[in-house]
Amino acid sequence: MAKHDTPLLDELEKGPWPSFVTDIKRQAEKNPDCWDILGQVELSYKDKITHWKHGGIVGVFGYGGGIVGRYSDVPAQFPGVEHFHTVRVNQPASKYYSTENLRALMALWDKHGSGMTNMHGSTGDIILLGCRTEALEPFFYDLTHEMGQDLGGSGSNLRTPANCLGQSRCEWACYDTEEACHHLTMHYQDEIHRPAFPYKFKFKFSGCANDCVAALARSDFAVIGTWRDNIRIDQAAVKEYIAGNIASNGGAHSGKDWGAFDIQKEVINLCPTECMWMEGDELKIDDSECTRCMHCINVMPRALRPGAEQGASICMGAKAPILDGAQFATLIIPFIKVSADNEFENVIEIIENVWDWWMEVGKNRERVGETMQRVGLPTFIKVMGLDPIPQHVKEPRSNPYVFWDEEEVEGGFERDVDEFRARHAA
């Protein structure tokens, strides 16, 4: 039975969307501490302010991350959430589960924690929400021993990598995102668990430019599938689309009558590079002009497929706004093969390149994107040992403030002012 009145929260039991309040109430029947979650959140709803204390450093031995400490600032009223730490369990790539695994993990959480979770956290972890300090080690012991699973990241380390489901169930993935994600997660266990970076660092893997894991927006190191050759066209299917026999965009717009499919309007005119046209009833693409934005493929998935020579672009430096304003990741490597065949060693080389440099020059709490901004993209390209290419930028600089090294300039920088004056009276 309810331990606290929650008239405000009760309002959130109404409406068609699943209610977390109803859900917590159900859980509270099993774990009465959950009443105190509701109680404290109800108080926040009344006070319009959080009732959690600032941070709190807790963790498991030997790990510098994986647990986020949290204590109530009204523990007397809500002893059940006095300690309310979260445990970040590293999710399996693509977030598929067997019910066997999931049930066992949940049972473990029922045993040690509140029984509330986030499936999943924004970074990708399984977030187990709320347990006491003394339960952390036992939980971790069971997690590793019984489940063979491990914690994810928090703190100034490699954060839990994440991927779009990719080749597992998507026809557009240009490399194996889940294998890349899993492999690198395993390869970098030390970096995930023992903070040694200036600040957090995130990997995300998307199989194509649709970027279903928001890599370009939310990761320091984004690997996004693309191709080098030509879009594969099935002209027969093109005709089917034109004839209206296949729904455009995989049926994504079927809830409204947008009129008959118009390949000119819906595909050709929306191609950002204007590189498509009809020749009779054949669709033509000048692939050398295509930027592989995915739009045409999205609209006609049965007629168009990414090229066959597949790989990825690597973009670096995305982050949230604090401090300099949000950044998207910047295209650094336009095309690279990404394959388990070489155990991703070419990708690993780039990762280590950027880490070596960032760990040396990055300031405390400076994301790699901020370090890139601080030193400038030209310097970053140089330290990465890359050739500058126009693909690194949207456009060339418009200011004329170019640096030159002394060696680049005939005669160097040192000059004799007296000699100068001999030829130029002051």
Binding site: G15, P16, W17, F20, D23, I24, R26, S44, Y45, K48, T50, H54, Y63, R70, P92, A93, S94, Y96, Y97, S98, T99, N101, L102, R103, D110, G115, M119, H120, S122, L129, P138, F140, D150, C164, Q167, S168, R169, E171, D176, E178, Q189, H193, A209, D211, C212, A217, N249, G250, A252, H253, G255, K256, L270, M294, P301, P321, I322, L323, G325, A326
Partner: protein
């Protein structure tokens, strides 16, 4: 056995990482991985993927609150056991996906889901509103300026019809972050709900000594508003900091670094609305969300102002944009001045950038449209 507090390092296992994903692939996925040909959304929330082999993977996508209990997860497992060979997955936006390998298995699954009340709404695909990516709010975090789960629930209730249908011009991605740290992808969402503080931090002089490294607190402030200072606590002069309120833009970074500088406040805090961001590279490059409503009050439990603001933008867009056009693409095509006019949102000075790259947002052309903003 289990953990022995007397001998904590005994038997310790570390650095084993997550289980290999392949153990969790449903059979049809395991078999056809890398060999999918095309997909179709046959009805809202239901996708079919066709493999080269001819196999089909039918996916039913179900909305979830994300803040969910083990009880609910057991129930999901029951469903997966009954219909899906004991497998399920979660999407990158916290929906649940139940997969079956035969069209015939779809309807029974849907029926089962429907039989369980409103716990498992089917939808979130195609040109609709899918789940809201969000953060902790008052349920778990120390810096929020608003709640997360409650606002999301209130908004999704109102937009529910768009979750279960596909009648928008394009997908609409809504995100919520409860503070400027933006743990959700608020900076690149079609519609973003952002918790904002509006009062400078208080200084808890009596606590600062123990809990803060003053130089870190000082350097945390991007605008140099935090300065060294002295204060008298219990008759003793201590080193502390002071804040130049004029310069503070309420980012909260000082509080992140120094617990003795709380800034949350019932009246100060609330919600800003940003729009027009996108992540995908489809057609146009990724875009940042832009601030269009600088402040709406925190009005729990159902945040009616925020709900109305989101719905208004969504429906104005729905009525005006072209097929495939994301909100940001629409706003750029019609011009932001028209966005404000059509959405009937008053333009305020707060939407005018004055941060580091501000100049690039100034209108340096004579091209503009006349709107009701020009008197």
């Amino acid at each position: 056995m289990g953990y022995d507090p007397a001998n904590p390092m005994a038997d310790r296992i570390t650095d084993i990482g997550p289980p290999h994903y392949s153990k969790f692939h449903p059979p049809v996925v395991a078999k056809n991985k890398g060999k999918w040909l095309w997909h179709e959304i046959t009805q809202p929330g239901v996708l079919v993927h066709k493999a080269e082999s001819g196999d089909e993977c039918w996916t039913v996508r179900v909305g979830a609150a994300r803040l969910i209990s083990t009880e609910l997860i057991y129930e999901m497992c029951d469903i997966a056991d009954a219909h899906c060979d004991g497998f399920l997955r979660f999407t990158t936006r916290n929906n649940v996906e139940f997969m079956v390998d035969d069209k015939a298995k779809v309807q029974p699954l849907l029926d089962d889901l429907a039989s369980r009340g409103n716990k498992f709404p089917v939808g979130g695909t195609g040109a609709g509103v899918t789940n809201i990516v969000h953060t902790q709010g008052w349920v778990h975090c120390h810096t929020p300026a608003t709640d997360a789960s409650g606002v999301v629930k209130a908004v999704m209730d109102e937009l529910f019809d768009y979750f279960t249908s596909m009648k928008l011009p394009a997908q609409v991605r809504i995100a919520l972050a409860c503070c400027l740290n933006m743990c959700g992808a608020v900076h690149a969402s079609d519609i973003a709900i952002l918790g904002v503080h509006r009062k400078p931090p208080m200084i808890d002089h009596s606590r600062i000594t123990g809990v803060c490294e003053l130089p870190l607190a000082i350097s945390a402030c991007p605008l140099g508003a935090v300065k060294p200072a002295k204060a008298t606590v219990d008759g003793k002069e201590i080193k502390t900091v002071k804040v130049n309120n004029e310069r503070c833009m309420f980012c909260g970074n000082c509080y992140t670094m120094c617990p003795a500088m709380p800034l949350a406040d019932p009246d100060g805090d609330g919600i800003a609305i940003l729009v027009g961001g996108k992540v995908s590279n489809a057609r146009s490059a990724p875009k940042f969300s832009k601030l269009v409503i600088p402040f709406l009050p925190n009005t729990p439990p159902r945040w009616p102002e925020t709900v109305a603001a989101v719905k208004n933008i969504l429906e104005t867009y729905a009525g005006d944009a072209k097929k495939y056009e994301r909100i940001g693409e629409w706003a750029e095509r019609i011009g932001w001045e028209k966005f404000f006019e059509k959405c009937n949102i008053p333009f305020t000075i707060k939407s005018v950038d004055d941060y580091r790259l501000a100049y690039d947002t100034w209108r340096t052309t004579t091209q503009f449209k006349y709107t009701n903003a020009i008197k």
